[in-house]
Symmetry: D2
Subunit: 334 residues, 4 copies
């Protein structure tokens, strides 16, 4: 039985407590929040829960195996580092840390200590993304041409970070999961209208081949859109996460091009075939992810959303910020 | 009565002939196409029409007042120049020319000769765009925050130009019509998968203030999307051109931000109000535009889609090409 | 403080307990369920709640002012009757009873005793229906022509009643709320494919004028539809309850007809105007309804969803059953 | 070469002339319309066409093999009868005649004379309906449970008939094509608000088994809907004719029911599987139908939309009218 200590009971914390409480092989031993206001909420929901105010107590407790860090980004690094140093496995909210260097340090530390470091990239565990992974691995799309995501709505959810750091971690972690190729460079353009941080931004991620990824993130859209197009050589896919059913549609559509013999121009023909919407598993993604976390610890296997995956996302976020500073030029991603 | 000579009877030519034939104050005197195959089509539709093969005859004919040029881009400049030199008014397909210099020369020549030079930016004359113009001029949106357009479908319609030169002229002309501010710089990213020209591209247009325009153009999308979001300080607008009705939706939604006294963070509040879809006039845009062209010639007034407007669009297209070459960096637009 | 005793903790009971617990002026004193399995669930959620197995204890307790009956339809009558006889106010699930006679008896009894009898027609308290009421009362639609509802999905939720008794109470109570006119007769057609009770049915309700109401209820539809069209002389309204936003759309569309002087035929003209989606209040309908129930008891005012309203719905349901038996012929509704 | 004479050049006539002109094996010899206003329109489109005013000339001409009757319903019978008596094949608009007796007489006459009598039930020839036929014949849906059609919009297209005679022939002919079972009885409810004929109506068609068909036709809807649900034992189908693509969707969804041993209640389980939208052929339905008509005449084969099919539709329309008169009761269909 993995004994979990949860630090932070704000917006997302209650979901973490609920899911680690419910999955097999885990038990939530303690929930920590600095605000005693929050303690009342915890008590109302979990009358018998141990509650405290001091994260150090959680981190150093001999009764805790896994520390779940559900606090603002700026605090992730020091909490995670201390937890690892104290021999605890770590489950930390996205993005993993506020800088690339911090992420690198955590990855190394977890490696040295042989501990599990897992970043809460929840979307990787949705039925829709797992189905997309399956479809891409089965080569149903053939070579991938582009990945084009629109994640826009009305709502500034985070005050200490810009719209890229708020919304793009979802997309970057999904991208990392679906596409094996590593990015070469990133360019980002954004503006701020409300407050001082970018609230509308557009990102391109470039690769060594002709594959391109594009992300449209926006806190000032009157309509909520969660659309991702994945264009492939053989088929094309639309993921519309706002649909109740049929979130994934696979189109047997495409273009075929032939060079005409001895001629300069091209013969282009279109293929219009069936559309197919595979059934998507409905399990709550976070439930699936928490169970997976416990299994990775039990079996000492490396999670797909490990520290390196968290580092990948932070590298891209950091490159976006640098590109914004230089007016949208391409910034290398190591 | 303005006597029109039409050069080119390919994809768009029949619409030009039909509309100039039907509008008040105009008559189509001759249709010219190099291909005798096309002559049969013209005859089938217009049994009494004068038809010829030589564009020079049209351009130099004393019986022609207005030359309509509906040929590939590369031929626009020389045809338009000759027509102006021969004292004819000119109506030319978009984009106006293949280079900035050519457009500048045509603008100057039309000015010198006191002739009307009009570019067929048809979208400026749709009921939807005219309604958007009205809404923006009445300040219903307040200050404009961003303009975000997605124009994607499956279909390579042009073999001699890339997806930007094919699709973005629509968006750039609409942008020029709706937004008074002139662009400072452009950045574009694109890749090609089919053939050698870009078939997927993303464009940002930067302005001197925090307004930003973004364009997503794509020939390889399984779904056809024609969406434009215009975010404003007071209200927000969605133009979905694929809708049969209610193409324009105006959302009384927005964000209000206050700096809290003596504090660092922001108080953000959201406003969620009614949505309103104004009735859109259904007249065919090209009909409206052709009638407008004739009126501009009759009254010697400058059209909104004059040579300068055509030049604006070509400047942006040209800046996109330059940005593509340097890997997406910002390119100044004079 | 109104002290509530809740009988039944099945599908809907938890919502009743939660809402009466949270609204001002009420407190849930006891929850009763025959199944001790359910007692565990109640305890998990409400650790300090009084729980019992015997509904009689609730009904006769001097500590209870209002009995909320959340049990199968067949038990409503006897529980509600006993509660009223014991001087308790009654809040009962829809449909109020299994027969017209039972409903009549409850109405009379509540009247005699001066007690509040309220039926849980939750939909009457949704933001969408309250907005529709407002729109109709302000005569924005003019005279109402028709009311056409489609309420279909995959799912047999009730085993002891047919699809009409399951789904139509929602529609009948909304109809009663929106339309003052009383129905004359009902005709219903239905068939059963799965089990022995109708799983697909169509209902017409006829009135003394040319207004007509039509209901399409279906447990075997692959898509979930919750659409209601209200056609009026001046405007028309569409309520699409599956939309996250803009559930109500009001169309300024209509038909105008003139008899041509001295002629037999009609001049028909169409009006196509704006569409308008008013903001809908988002409060949970049941919360609103529970608070309203308490206020009605406190102020001794008659609720809109009183016993007579419950009786109206049961009369229509009963007429549907009779019409089904005679093959779809019209059955009078007293 | 089948020589066609077309009588009537109103709303639909131009499509008939165009399609019989274009299909292989046919030529339009003459177009007849009583209005000389229409003659101008014919001339504009077909400069070399023979035009006349007298339908008798067409019907008796030795140069005509097939008479296409595209006139108001009330004139169909006498024109078709005369044409058959004169040894002409007949292609007649829907509905075939204004009464059952007239239809019966035409069927018999065509039979005696060995002539082709074909009714223009165009929808039977759309790609969508042909695909549905295929899907049903391949037993992909299993046994059919219900057929539920909604065909509503704003627009009174016909002044001499009610909404049922205007819109339901489409649905009845499709029903006859897809479902082999013959109807037992029909019940219809309708009201009129504008003019004196029903503008809103609902129809049920009953069969000897538990299959039911339901039709919602309405001239006063603010939104245009063209939806048909076909529920089956194994799969379910939605035909949304307003979609540009994916008009047909097949849902691998359903219900399974088991009687629990020795128990009264049912075990119901749901199956939620993939959705599949087959590619639909895009050929113009009327083109396909005209070519089919010519082939039937050439090969002397009986069309699927023969006189008996036309009679089926008229029988149902007639039964609807009778049911309307008796207040919605079931009326037998012989």
């Amino acid at each position: 039985m993995i004994r979990v200590g949860v630090i932070g009971y704000g917006y997302w914390g209650p979901n973490i407590v609920r899911n680690f409480s419910l999955v097999e092989g885990a038990t939530v031993e303690v929930v920590c929040d600095r605000s005693t206001e929050m303690h009342k909420k915890i008590k109302a929901q979990w009358p018998h829960m141990n509650i405290n105010t001091d994260s150090d107590e959680v981190i150093t407790s001999p009764d805790i195996d896994l520390v779940a860090i559900v606090t603002p980004v700026s605090t992730h690094f020091s909490l995670a580092k201390q937890a690892l140093l104290n021999g605890k496995h770590v489950f930390v909210e996205k993005p993993m840390t506020a800088t690339v260097e911090e992420s690198e340090e955590l990855v190394e530390l977890a490696e040295q200590k042989g501990l599990t470091l897992m970043v809460d990239h929840t979307f990787m565990f949705t039925g829709a993304v797992r189905k997309m992974k399956e479809v891409i691995e089965e080569r149903l799309l053939g070579d991938i041409y582009y990945y084009d995501s629109t994640r826009i709505n009305l709502g500034i959810f985070q005050h200490d970070i810009n719209v890229i750091w708020d919304l793009a971690p979802h997309d970057f972690s999904i991208l990392s999961y679906l596409i094996d190729e590593k990015p070469l460079s990133v360019s980002a353009s954004g503006v701020s209208h409300v407050g001082t941080r970018e609230d509308v931004a557009y990102i391109h991620v470039h690769f060594s081949n002709s594959f391109i990824a594009h992300f449209n993130v926006n806190w000032l859209s009157p309509v909520k859109v969660r659309n991702t197009l994945v264009g492939g050589e053989k088929r094309m896919l639309l993921w519309d996460d706002m649909m109740a059913d049929e979130k994934i549609r696979i189109y047997d559509k495409g273009v075929e091009v032939k060079q005409r013999e001895g001629m300069y121009d091209l013969l282009v023909s279109y293929r219009a075939g069936d559309m197919w919407a595979p059934r998507i598993e409905q399990t709550e993604a976070l439930r699936y992810e928490c169970r997976y976390c416990i299994k990775c610890i039990e079996n000492n296997t490396r999670p797909i959303n490990d520290g390196l995956n968290g580092l990948y996302v932070v590298r891209l976020l950091n490159a976006c910020d640098e590109s914004l500073k230089i007016g949208g030029g391409a910034v290398d991603v190591k």
